[in-house]
């Protein structure tokens, strides 16, 4: 009988309740969409931050004084790669030296490789920071860099180099130019295959393959530091950094603080924004339900008076109304959940250009919120508990 009455109550006031249902399902749609976005944002942002490149750096301890002591053994790269992480990490070693650099007259890479001693310039050359690394991995840890490449013919050179845009200006070098690098009594020829624009200190550097720089510097199997791109939340990165520090105690492991903090701040801002919007939506939905229920309460004064006269306790009568509101919240919530998840997928594709996965934890959360909103919105019906049957029958109330 209980559900029979609840159903009759719903059916009898279908016009008014349709307004509340619309408000609840709309509120649920937006809430579900935002919650789904919020839950999926962590994973999406993790991927996005990965695109920002290096977020952990491993170097020699800061206290080390001798220049040799400030270098690491290249074998550390394999030890780092052996440390398990939830996501795949990119590990790239670097060796930095400063070398005098000359631009050569010959620009044909094949001719340059055969350049003779008499072709070598007589002037002292320009000091440039040489960065020896794995050139193929450079884009993985620095995906935001802008790289302008030479034609494919020029890339056949045995010693390609990537030249920072400011260094290129300093040397008056362009794509395809041949450069001579002098370090102590050793020389190295290379061809500019790419001009790099990073917007940072790398614009003043030149990038070559790690073995080339190691040979030029006479530092075989030595590196200056290792840059690591670790995907994950700030907590996951922190955890990885801790494990890394334990595994290689003789090296200094430090997160790239600005990036980690930016990631954390962005997470907080997004979560705060979503939470504030969800709260606002809930308040607006409650107000809408409240207005509908207030009108309904006026209509039901007589019914409540009669039910009390028939021996209905206010607890049993209110239970009917609260379940009616609960059913409204549940059904509106279910509809809103499906629409909201669909909406979040649409937003994901249109706004972020990514495929968002439905997070089914959104469903119980949204349903719970909507049932709570409906019951809170049914507050005016609770005021009917004060209705006096005799006043209703006398027409005084």
């Amino acid at each position: 009988m209980f559900w029979r009455i609840v159903w009759r109550l719903l059916y009898a006031s279908k016009a008014r309740l349709a307004v509340a249902f619309l408000a609840i399902s709309s509120g649920a749609t937006v809430c579900a969409a935002l919650l789904n976005l919020q839950m999926d944002a962590e994973q999406k942002l993790t991927r996005e931050f990965r695109a920002l490149g290096t977020n952990v750096v491993v170097s020699a301890p800061r206290g080390a004084e001798a220049s040799e002591a400030r270098l690491l053994d290249a074998g550390i790269v394999d030890r780092i790669k052996a440390i398990h992480n939830r996501y795949s990490t990119t590990v790239v070693p670097f060796l930095y030296i400063t070398a005098r650099t000359h631009k050569l007259a010959a620009t044909n890479p094949m001719a340059m490789n055969a350049a003779s001693e008499q072709d070598a310039p007589r002037e002292p050359g320009t000091l440039v920071i040489l960065s020896g690394t794995h050139l193929n991995d450079l884009e993985k840890i620095a995906p935001a860099w802008k790289m302008v490449r030479a034609d494919s013919g020029d890339l056949q050179t045995q010693s390609p180099c990537l030249l920072g845009i400011k260094a290129a200006e300093q040397l008056a070098a362009k794509l395809g130019d041949a450069l001579q690098l002098d370090f102590a009594d050793r020389k190295q020829l290379c061809s500019v295959t790419t001009i790099v624009s990073s917007g940072g200190a790398e614009d003043n550097q030149m990038f070559l393959e790690l073995p080339v720089v190691q040979r030029l510097a006479g530092l075989a199997e030595r590196i200056s530091l290792v840059q690591i791109s670790v995907p994950g939340t700030p907590e996951e990165i922190q955890d990885y950094t801790g494990r890394l520090a334990q595994a290689i105690p003789l090296a200094e492991v430090r997160p790239v603080r600005a990036l980690a903090e930016a990631e954390g701040r962005l997470f907080q801002k997004i979560q705060g924004l979503i939470l504030a919007t969800v709260i606002l939506i809930l308040v607006l939905t409650t107000l809408c339900v409240l207005a509908t229920m207030a009108a309904l309460a006026v209509e039901r004064r007589h019914d409540v008076g009669l039910m009390k006269a028939l021996g209905g306790s206010i607890r049993r009568i209110m239970r009917l109304f609260l379940f009616e509101a609960g059913v409204l919240g549940f059904t509106g919530g279910v509809l809103g959940c499906f629409l909201g998840i669909a909406l979040s997928e649409w937003i994901g594709q249109r706004v972020f250009g990514v495929e968002l996965s439905p997070r089914f934890a959104v469903v119980p959360i949204t349903l719970g919120l909507m049932i709570a909103v409906s019951i809170a919105g049914a507050f005016p019906l609770r005021l009917l508990s004060h209705v006096s049957p005799v006043e209703i029958f006398r027409g005084e109330a």
């Binding site: 109550l9 039910m307 049993r316 049957p389 029958f393």
Partner: protein
């Protein structure tokens, strides 16, 4: 016979108006009492107080051994559900419940619902073919019969009827009064407010109120029972 209802010096004041002014009355179990009097004489107020819908300003109301005036809200709820059956002039059915559901609603508030019993109650009042009809689909007489079935479904100790035929045509009035006659014959106690002397004559006795007091000595409609009312003389 034992007194089922007893009021002593009952007063109900609405501001400066005394709706009941020291009314004392006794009703025996199984009696059919017709309460008459002009508008504003306190008839409905008396019914409301006896039914636990309203509280007296002063005086004592004993119904079936309970001092109604002293009952707390929760006790009044049980009192109304278990001991009283109301029949109103305006029928007061829930408009969105069917005839059957209106009867079952009283069961629901009393204890548990029993659809078969509710159906039988409606069959008894001649509404076997109107079970699933909404009040708006029923005539006035049919609605009042639903109200009577609802009033009786929990087998109350007293049926309080406030002008039950006031909104009915002659044919339906006869049907409804016939039902009350059957109720009375089955031993139910009935207190009925009416303006119709013809209906009042069918009751065991009439009491007439005026300005909240007994206007005249109650008249017994059955010879040989005059002595029952001697205490009111």
């Amino acid at each position: 016979m034992s007194a089922l209802v007893q009021t002593e010096n009952l007063v109900k004041q609405f501001g400066n108006l005394r709706a009941l002014d020291g009314l004392s009355l006794t009703v025996q179990a199984g009696e059919w009492i017709a309460i008459m009097g002009p508008s504003g004489s306190g008839k409905t107020t008396l019914i409301n107080i006896l039914g636990g819908l309203d509280a007296p300003t002063s005086g004592r109301v004993m119904v079936d051994g309970s001092d109604v005036a002293s009952l707390r809200e929760a006790e009044l709820v049980r009192y109304r559900a278990e001991r009283i059956g109301f029949v109103f002039q305006q029928f007061h059915l829930i408009p969105y419940l069917t005839a059957l559901e209106n009867v079952m609603l009283a069961q629901y508030f009393h204890s548990v619902t029993n659809e078969a019993e509710a159906t039988a109650a409606l069959v008894r009042v001649g509404l076997a073919d109107r079970l699933e009809h909404l009040p708006s689909q029923l005539s006035g007489g049919e609605q009042q019969r639903v109200a009577i079935a609802r009033a009786l479904i929990n087998q109350p100790r007293i049926v309080l009827a406030d002008e039950p035929t006031g909104n009915l045509d002659e044919a339906n009035e006869e049907i409804v009064i016939g039902l009350f006659r059957d109720l009375h014959a089955a031993g139910n106690t009935i207190l009925m407010v009416t303006h119709d002397a013809g209906i009042a004559r069918q009751a065991d006795r009439r009491i007439e109120l005026e300005h909240g007091r007994l206007a005249q000595i109650p008249v017994s409609n059955s010879k040989g029972e005059q002595q029952r009312f001697s205490h009111l003389r």
